[in-house]
């Protein structure tokens, strides 16, 4: 291809969303990925939920706007994207959870999102297979699920259709204003560079003080064989928020999805400090035990596969999206942790607006790379 207008580093869901957004602005985009395939990192390992969360107003805004973008695209997806409008049920194990559910319902209602609190009986009607001790829950009907690798592939195909190009086996070792350096020592240039290399992204920047702003946070998943699903909604425990946003070195939380294939996807776990890809048996055991506790019927379903992945986590649970100060035309999009699939489309929209020199559709200040550095709650 002729000199591209923009280079996107990383063909995961965030890179793919940025690439598509730039291509829609008639930019010729070159996407580079280190692997022999695309979307093979955190994107391939994730659950694919398109959900609303509200750890902060900024997180909520990005989820909310992104979910709208996913809904708008839905009619265009091929079957392989496995979009499922199953909604989400957050289950409460105790009255404290139930109180949290009510607060969430009010918070969402005030911002135009449908959600309903379920009492114990209503929860049992909605999801009869759940443990009967659960005291209730919160149903968010607008939450959806996709199969992330296929969604990323579709975004990349859209990029290619608009004159873009994807290069595999192209590992980027450094990014700078106007150019990237590949592992073989060669350089590629473009006026716009978007660094979406996941948990490695900030290590590609020259300033070592930035490197520790994003850390890999390991997760485990297991999936069953095809069969009749036990549940209709994606179901997670309200305590998931404590796990997702808590300070523990390692934690597990109930988070289970029915897939359109008839399989059941079982999550979730979070670990800091683990760098090896292998399954950590202790974590897997705890994760499965928690899942069986809240969804007893899982015990007899057969698990066909387990795997691990690494989320790009930040200390303040917000991604880094926007220009790299002092480097003309260099942008970063990383640190999406467990919400990368949900917030990818919003991220692409923000980056594209910033590249155009326009103000994005939501206030992007909370995602700036030069925001005050938060303290990591774990070592």
């Amino acid at each position: 291809m002729k000199t591209p207008d923009a280079i996107v580093v990383g063909a995961g869901i965030v890179g793919a969303a940025c690439a598509r957004a730039l291509a829609r602005d008639d930019r010729r985009v070159l996407v580079l990925d280190a692997a022999p395939g695309t979307a093979g990192g955190a994107t391939a390992a994730g659950m694919g939920h398109i959900i609303i969360t509200d750890d902060s107003e900024a997180q909520f805004e990005l989820c909310h706007r992104s979910q709208q973008l996913w809904d708008e695209l839905a009619p265009e997806f091929p079957v392989g994207v496995q979009r499922d409008e199953c909604g989400c049920v957050w289950v409460a194990v105790d009255d404290e959870d139930l109180e949290a559910a009510q607060q969430k319902r009010d918070y969402y209602a005030a911002r135009g999102i449908r959600a309903e609190v379920l009492d114990q009986r209503q929860l049992r009607e909605a999801e009869p297979a759940l443990a009967h001790e659960l005291v209730g829950g919160l149903r968010v009907p607008g939450d959806t699920v996709v199969y992330p690798p296929a969604a990323a592939e579709w975004l990349l195909a859209e990029t290619e259709r608009r004159d873009g190009q994807i290069r595999r086996n192209a590992e980027v070792v450094a990014v700078a204003s106007g150019a990237v350096t590949l592992a073989d020592g060669s350089a590629l240039s473009a006026p716009i560079i978007v660094n979406a290399a996941g948990d490695r992204a900030l290590h590609l920047l020259p300033d070592p003080r930035l490197h520790d702003l994003v850390r890999p946070r390991k997760g485990h998943l297991a999936i069953t064989e095809r069969g009749r699903p036990l549940i209709r909604h994606q179901v997670a425990e309200l305590g998931y928020f404590r796990s997702a946003h808590g300070a523990n070195q390692s934690s597990v939380a109930f988070n289970v999805q029915p897939r359109t294939t008839g399989q059941t996807l079982i999550g979730s776990s979070r670990q800091f400090g683990a760098t090896h890809r292998a399954v950590d048996h202790g974590i897997l055991a705890r994760m499965l035990e928690r899942a069986m506790e809240l969804l007893p019927g899982l015990a007899d379903l057969r698990v066909i596969r387990t795997w691990t992945g690494f989320r790009a986590a930040t200390a303040d649970k917000l991604p880094y999206i926007g220009p790299v100060p002092g480097h003309e035309g260099l942008f970063v999009a990383t640190g999406h942790e467990g919400l990368g699939i949900t917030t990818s489309l919003g991220t692409g929209g923000i980056i594209a607006a910033q590249v155009r020199g326009e103000t994005p559709f939501i206030d992007a200040a909370p995602y700036r790379l030069d925001r005050p550095v938060a303290e990591w709650s774990v070592a």
Binding site: P36, G40, T224, I266, V279, A285, L301, V303
Partner: protein, 425 residues
Amino acid sequence: MLELRTDVTVVGAGPAGVAAAVEASESGARVVLVDDNPKSGGQIWRQGTGQPPAGAQPWLRRLASSTVEHLSGTAVVDVEGARSLFLRRPDGLARVHTGATVLATGSRERFLPFPGWTLPGVMGAGGAQALAKSGWPVRGTRIVVAGSGPLLLAVAHYLKGAGAQVTALVEQAPLGSLIGMAPRLMRHPRKLKQAMSLAAGIRGVRRLYSSWVEAAQGEDAVSSVTVRTPGGRHQIECELVACGFGLVPETRLARLCNAALAEENVQVDSLQRTDVEGLFAAGEITGVGGVDVALAEGRIAGLAAAGDVDAARALSRVRDREQRFAAALEAAFELSPELGALATDATVVCRCEDVTLGELRAYEDARDAKLKTRCGMGACQARMCGPAMRFIGGWKQDSIRPPLFPIETAALAEISAAQTSEAMQ
């Protein structure tokens, strides 16, 4: 969970595994033999309704009179290093702590897809033989046996003996390569006798060389195949196609143990040791070679695993001789690259997930294709499409993670939890 302790654990009760277990046991080791079939013998000595073959009987007798604890109907689900194996038995889970492990997991048939291969009536050659052995009626059935390798002879012979009408034996290797084996065969009188007996048994069967089934046709089931020969294409009517393109080592467990592979084979030294401490490998997983190599390797692995290194070394000459023959045989039956071009874009490659070759052409990497198309994600876990795509597309093996086969969530949790508590002790 049932806890077992032993000196040597052998996985797989085919010729290599039985020989390893018998030798290890006879040299004084406590031995556990794990196999997922109800009876020992593996595919090649499969004990169906009839008697096991003559060559198997002394080994099965020695096994029966040994102190080997034979766990049949048992499969390895996961490992924690090479000296701790998690088993699923008909009556629950078990863990075996072992001083050494001998892997003798054998091989499975390679199938290369061609248009029409998913029609009912088209099946693996070994699969067809196994079905017939288990009593499935083939009398009067017109069968085309096709593909490559010495196994085809044995399959054709067996099916014919069971009353089937073997209408053609279609071998992709050139007749010249096979004739080139003759001088070598002369130096192995027993094999020569066996080959001649097989050949005599299928006298009258039409034999085609440098030929292969290009497509199968039929409405609800296969009714004919198109065979490509050097002299042109033939249409052959049949009700069954027994097709196999040689064997692929079954290395999933070896890879889970982190043993190093060379190409598709587990790498071993002269004592059948892998690069993993305490882990041995014997038989087809170290390189497909047939029953005689398997027996020789199994004996050495069993003795070495039991610590009888001198006795193991004494057998190396026999093994090396068998290995040379096996290598020559493999070269003679080398697959023609043209076989990788039989499937068209519309041909299904992954039957579990219904993925066609056309959908796979965009990918150069097995994992990438799996993620995007679900090829290899299904019930068979890429056992069929994996080797096929390695041949057709030059793909590499994907990584392996527990469980080795689908298992109940509760059992997987129990196995995983056991590994934690052990690690914390």
